[in-house]
């Protein structure tokens, strides 16, 4: 039994057991008794309405928030046994409002975590160039400041910053929310490629269901602080036992049907 657990943990990048977090102000953003295992290399997307607790759940993984109850482990290690700043340096994080440091150049923003980890300047410079190529930004943009970049370019920098110190886990909090739809699709596709190539484990939050369906290996649906269902996009689309989930998952298809109908009408 013990050895079986150990073997299983080897495969599991993130293990959340019975995590709860409540706030004095009320139930908004609280999470209730959540358990979730995420396999190494998996791309999991958490969907749910605003206030359903998605962001709270994500932040328990790198201890931006500590739960009141339950445990969180990354690769078998309880996160509370590690110094939180060290933990955060080992986990990439892409922020909702991008969160680039406006007083630092693109290169300096990307280099921030390697610098905190004490990498030498040559290694950092090489890594910055490598990352600019990886996220498909021009080398010239290295010396620019964030406010001279477009929204899409900024989030590419955000992704580069998150993966700069070669983390095995990347957390993404509505990463493409502030970007126009066309750029958004390109960004999402590019990141999905990076995720595979770098063998990352990615936990992403979105309320865009289409994005979730197209990107995710697995989707977890949250409502009022609980995970009401989880499975592959296919499973949730076809076989969810929950009315709420089925209804939610059907939305993109209904929209697609309406678009198709309009197109057909226009063709007549």
């Amino acid at each position: 039994m013990v050895s079986e657990t150990a073997m299983a943990d080897d495969q599991i990048a993130i293990s959340i057991r019975g995590a709860s977090k409540s706030y004095d102000e009320g139930s908004r953003d609280a999470i209730r008794d959540i358990s979730l295992d995420i396999r190494a290399g998996e791309f999991i997307v958490i969907v749910g309405e605003s206030g359903s607790g998605k962001t709270t759940l994500l932040k328990t993984i790198n201890r931006l928030i500590d739960p009141n109850a339950g445990t969180v482990r990354t690769f078998g290690t309880d996160v509370t046994s590690v110094d939180p700043t060290h933990l955060r340096r080992s986990i990439g994080y892409v922020f909702q409002e991008v969160g680039l440091f406006p007083h630092l150049t693109v290169a300096e923003n990307i280099a921030i975590t390697p610098k905190l980890l004490g990498w030498d300047a040559v290694a950092i410079a090489a890594r910055v160039n490598e990352l600019l190529d990886l996220v498909r930004l021009s080398r010239e943009s290295a010396e620019r400041y964030p406010d001279t970049l477009s929204g899409g370019q900024r989030q590419r920098v955000g992704v580069a910053r998150a993966i700069a110190a070669r983390p095995r886990i990347v957390l993404m909090d509505e990463p493409f929310g502030a970007v126009d739809p066309i750029t958004r699709e390109a960004l999402a596709d590019d990141y999905r490629t990076l995720h595979g190539a770098l063998q990352l484990t990615t936990v992403m939050i979105t309320h865009d269901l289409l994005e979730a369906i197209l990107l995710a290996d697995r989707i977890a649906v949250m409502q009022d602080g609980r995970i009401v269902d989880e499975g592959t996009p296919h499973e949730l689309l076809t076989a969810s036992k929950h009315d709420y989930v089925r209804d939610l998952m059907a939305k993109p298809r209904r929209q697609a049907d309406r678009v198709a109908a309009l197109a057909a009408e226009a063709a007549k």
């Binding site: 790198n62 931006l64 700043t85 060290h86 955060r88 340096r89 994080y93 922020f95 909702q96 409002e97 969160g99 680039l100 440091f101 406006p102 007083h103 921030i112 975590t113 905190l116 980890l117 400041y145 910053r161």
Partner: protein, 526 residues
């Protein structure tokens, strides 16, 4: 007034390197110290909200103390501290001049720096702060690498406010013996030299505006991340500071330092002493505008080498005596006392008295039949009296009230400059005048006799700092002045500086030259 070529303007420009240099040195030191203490305190305040409340409260309170009072408070504080350290470690320092000014101004500069640093850091976008923690920064790294840099424009705005305040308030440091642009204002006010007053105000204002503009360009370079602009603006600031402060510092190497209290006669006498020393080939500079007791302490502490004081002032304020027998007895007793208690040498008397004396308009006094203070006491209940800011708290005033039973309808404090005019205009009935003041003749005032001798003698005497009595070069240079300044000459010289009797107003230095010539002529005729 012949405008630009007015001798007062030339005189003002001649003093500019010294005054401006010292002013800039003082202000810059205070602002740098304000940053040095203000920033760490602000950081501590940011980490503890409770400490923040206390900190802002205390500094805010210090801010409400008027500048002059704050400066004055540091003087006794430092004096006490100096006594303690000299008793404990044999370490003595000057409680005058630079140090109290620096401390008071540092306190002044700290509030805007502190408040803006705290406001600036608290105002940094929460998403950015979260990102700093999220990428793995410790709270301190977040503060130093992200929050403080982002708050920099706000902090710089605080530094600008501090700079303008400090440059303005530094003019008041003249009163505690620190040379500054305030010397123009204090001297000008006392000698009715409005060109000096204006010159001092304009110079301080230009300096403040210039520094503010330079700091503003640093601020906008920071905000616009214009590194080249930042370097240029910083270089320009350093250049302005260096150019304005270096000549003054280089030129302040006068060997003998002559003190002066803040009124016209003192400025004339300080100039007279300086001219005597210069004529004898000795280098000398002036430390003008020292408060009454401040001047004596400065001499005893060796901060100044010589100045002119009055026997009555030493008798009452320094020795705390009231009863006296005669001029001569007071003089000799003071000489012995100063020597034994402070090592200060009473070099000799200049030959005139500048005593407090009650004065009225002559025609009024004659009409009312008032010749003496006794006569006055019978009618004074309906009268108003004006005196300088010190008089009503001095022992002489208590003695007068006791001995004659003097009572007035009201008592007013006035600058000496305005006092004479007020009594001449009939706005005030009686003033506590200075017996050597030229304006007594100018406004046709009469000094009331003091038959009970309540007012002590006020012989003008030259005092030398400990050790200077053995300085033969100095004593030889000063010897010709002893008993050479009659009260008539002193009154005339004083009158010259106030531009009375239809004469054009002259500077203290020119009045001193006139006095020196008069003394030389007398010497020839002997």
């Amino acid at each position: 007034m012949s405008g630009w070529f007015d001798p007062n303007v030339a005189d003002a420009f001649a003093r500019l390197p010294d005054y401006l240099g010292q002013h800039v040195m003082l202000s810059v030191s205070a602002i740098l110290l304000g940053l040095l203490f203000g920033l760490p305190l602000a950081v501590a305040g940011l980490r503890s909200p409770r400490f923040r409340v206390i900190l802002l409260g205390v500094i805010g309170l210090a801010q409400t103390i008027p500048g002059l009072a704050l400066l004055a408070l540091f003087y006794p504080l430092l004096l006490g501290l100096s006594l303690v350290t000299s008793a404990a470690f044999g370490l003595q320092f000057s409680a005058l001049g630079f140090l109290p000014s620096l401390l008071a101004l540092t306190l002044y500069s700290m509030l805007p720096i502190l408040r803006n640093t705290i406001t600036g850091v608290l105002g940094v976008d929460a998403a950015i702060k979260q990102a700093a923690i999220g990428v793995g920064m410790t709270p301190m790294q977040s503060l130093l690498q992200v929050e403080l840099p982002l708050a920099l424009p706000t902090i710089m705005a605080g530094v600008r406010t501090a700079a303008v305040w400090v440059i303005g308030t530094a003019t008041l440091s003249t009163a505690v013996g620190q040379t500054s642009l305030g010397n123009y204002i204090f001297t000008g006010l006392q000698t009715q030299n409005w060109i000096f007053v204006l010159f001092g105000c304009v110079a301080a204002a230009i300096l403040a505006l210039l520094i503010d503009a330079l700091l503003a360009s640093i601020e906008s370079s920071l905000a616009g991340r214009n590194r080249r602009g930042l370097v240029l603006a910083a270089a320009a600031t350093v250049l302005v500071l260096a150019v304005s402060s270096l000549p003054g510092l280089a030129g302040s190497g006068g060997e003998y330092v002559i003190g002066a209290k803040p009124f016209a006669e003192q400025y004339v006498l300080a100039a007279l002493l300086q001219q005597r020393l210069n004529d004898a080939g000795l280098a000398a500079s002036q430390r003008a505008g020292l408060g009454s007791t401040v001047a004596f302490d400065a001499l005893a502490g060796g901060d100044i080498d010589l100045y002119v004081d009055y026997t009555g002032t030493i008798w009452t304020n320094v020795m705390h005596r009231s009863e006296f027998t005669s001029r001569e007895a007071v003089l000799s007793e003071i000489g012995t006392w100063l020597e034994t208690n402070h090592g200060v040498k009473l070099f000799g008397s200049l030959g005139f008295e500048n005593a407090y004396a009650l004065a009225m308009r002559r025609e009024r006094a004659e009409a009312l039949g008032i010749r003496t203070i006794e006569d006055l006491a019978r009618q004074s209940q309906g009268f108003s009296i004006a005196a300088d800011v010190e008089f009503f708290v001095r022992p002489e005033w208590r003695a007068l009230q006791q001995d004659y039973g003097l009572k007035f309808r009201n008592e007013r404090q006035l600058q000496a400059t305005f006092m004479y005019r007020a009594v001449a205009d009939g706005e005030i009935d009686v003033i506590a005048a200075y017996s050597s003041d030229g304006q007594i003749a100018q406004y046709d005032l009469v000094l009331l006799e003091d038959p009970k001798r309540s007012l002590p003698p006020y012989d003008a005497v030259i005092l030398l700092a400990p050790g200077r009595a053995q300085d033969r070069a100095l004593t030889d240079a000063l010897a010709p002045l002893l008993d050479a300044v009659t009260v008539e000459r002193m009154r005339h010289a004083n009158l010259m500086t106030s531009g009375g009797e239809g004469e054009s107003q002259t500077s203290p230095a020119e009045a001193a030259r006139w006095l020196a010539n008069a003394i030389a002529a007398q010497g020839d005729s002997k």
